[in-house]
Amino acid sequence: MSRKLTYREAMREAMREALQRDPRVILIGEDVGRYGGTYAFSKGFLDEFGPERIRDTPLAELGFVGTGIGAALGGLRPIVEVMTVNFSLLALDQIVNTAALFHHMSGGQFSVPLVIRMATGAGRQLAAQHSHSLEGWYAHIPGIKVLAPATIEDARHMLAPALADPDPVVIFEHAGLFNLEGELPDIDGVDIASAKLRRTGRDVALITYGGCLPKTLAAAEMLAAEGIEAEVLDLRVLRPLDTAGIVATVAKCHRAVVIDENWKSGGFAAEVMARIMENAFYELDAPVARVCAEEVPIPYAKHLEEAALPQAEKIVAAVKEMFA
């Protein structure tokens, strides 16, 4: 039986289930305990699971991510919550130089079974220091997996395989999705290895992930009204990237637009485009296009923030240009 719930509730359920199921799972981060989590993901967890397992930390990302790595090496299965990707840069050394490398540096003797969750993205008028999308930076790093759940189903089911993974997994949750409500299908789980088609079409492949998925689906509806059948591929896993899934949709549609809230220069969309050029060049009937964030710090003012981000109308315009 499918049921209706929000992205927030789905993620909360996933964490609660993980804590109940495995005593090694702990949750640490700023405000996750007494306050119930910055985004209320862990409300009531402190009472239910106790201060041993639900740990408030000081504003010290480098320290508490490092603590998570130590706990993982010590046999626990920590979930570390970082408030936004902007702040995660303080912990970059721990993630990139320690967590991602440990398996390699120890000659395979140690793994770091750590899950780091962080909010990403703009759209809620929180200004530049809380709104950037830097998940592409993490997708650059070998040794970690990078997930971007964009649906209720992925929010509910991606945490379990992430915790089961023996190596570090970083999960990016787009803050604009938290209040998204939808049907949770009655399924046992999802994989964290493949992209997923969210809409089938034949004229153009719209390739996206995370917070841009709803906008892209809206754009596909608008295009359908004009007779252009767009296929929407949700990448879901930014590292390792599902090249076969990308190639399949491009080979079917012969045109592709990559939609990504990163900035364009050196952004994640560029990687997807490069994969298409390497693997599906002869399937293309038009240059691959991308719709990304404007190359500015994300503004606070609502209209400027909207103007800086990919929107359904911009996606429609990019597609139409291909058919001009």
Binding site: H254, F281, Y282, E283, L284, D285, A286, E321, M322, A324
Partner: protein, 400 residues
Amino acid sequence: MIEFRLPSLGADMDEGTLLEWKVKPGDRVEKGQVIAIVDTAKAAIDVECWQEGTVHRLIAEPGQKMPVGTVMALLLEPGETVPAEAATATPHTGSNESREVSSGSGALREVGAGGTAPPPAPEAGERRRISPAARKRAAELGVAVEKLIGSGPQGAVTLEDVEKAAARPAPAAPPGDRFLAMRQTIAAAMSRSKREIPHYYVSEDIPLARMLAWLQETNAQRPMTERLLPAAVLLKAVARALANYPELNGHYRDGAFQPAQAVHLGVAISLRAGGLIAPAILDAGAKPLTKLMQELADLVRRTRAGSLKSAELSAATITVTNLGDQGSHGVFGVITPPQVALVGFGRIAERPWAENGGLKALPVVTASLSADHRVSDGHRGALFLRELSDLLQQPEELAR
């Protein structure tokens, strides 16, 4: 400057294809002079210019398809001189380098010595915009992609342009390129056939002594103009034999065989300039032999004159190829998609024929059947050829 635009040549015309320019830059044009031939969906039409002037620049290229109202050429009004910017728009004229580039590519035209006509788009030295998918598909279909007119952004040739070009039975092309265009069409159809249709082949030697003797007798009683050719009798026999083998007569479309109700017999007719067309004799099974003969002669004449009706070009349900006097003993042909069979006849010639333990010389034809194995099997094919042979032993029956 006068803009010469593609006129609407009928209420239902919204686009046309330029076949040929009758003028060149520098030519004086009078009112009412035919300056271009444009192909509409129905026919090639001479297009007149209703203003007086001098041709400055031809913008549309032969083969180019354009909507009504498109500027096809620029003419100078009497007394008008070449504007300065237009004169400088021919930067490559005279440059050895650009000449090399031009002669290296069939898509580019040499710039005239007088420098009157700047090269049409694409500019000299610029590479044609062809999408990778279009290039790949064009190679598969045997379409000459460099010759296509692109409909994509900035004139890029797209997948759709290639597929349309391959599907077009007779692509509009200037007269000099008709042979090439026909070669491309045949290439596309035959490549598709060999790619999609699993062919099987069977053949049968058919003695024609009775048939030829009967034909001689019949023709002796007919005026010259009504005499029958062996080819007509063979066609009639094929049409008649198909009545019992519906799986050889029809089309394979959308993954399924669709048998045809009547036999529209495609006849492969070679053109004197090369290439071939296979228009159909409609409902050949129902027509008396004399009528079939008349239609065959008419079809050959009109095919070579280039005045076929569209129904004849698209209706065939099976094709017969007949090599005639000049041909080989037998021919094993390639099926014309989406048809499912092709009957081939070689040369009728005297050959040794063994019968009842004895050997004699007889006129014999080798009949072959190429058929689509998705629809029929070799055993049925062989029975069909056997029936064809039996029918040809009773020519008087075929006359009706």
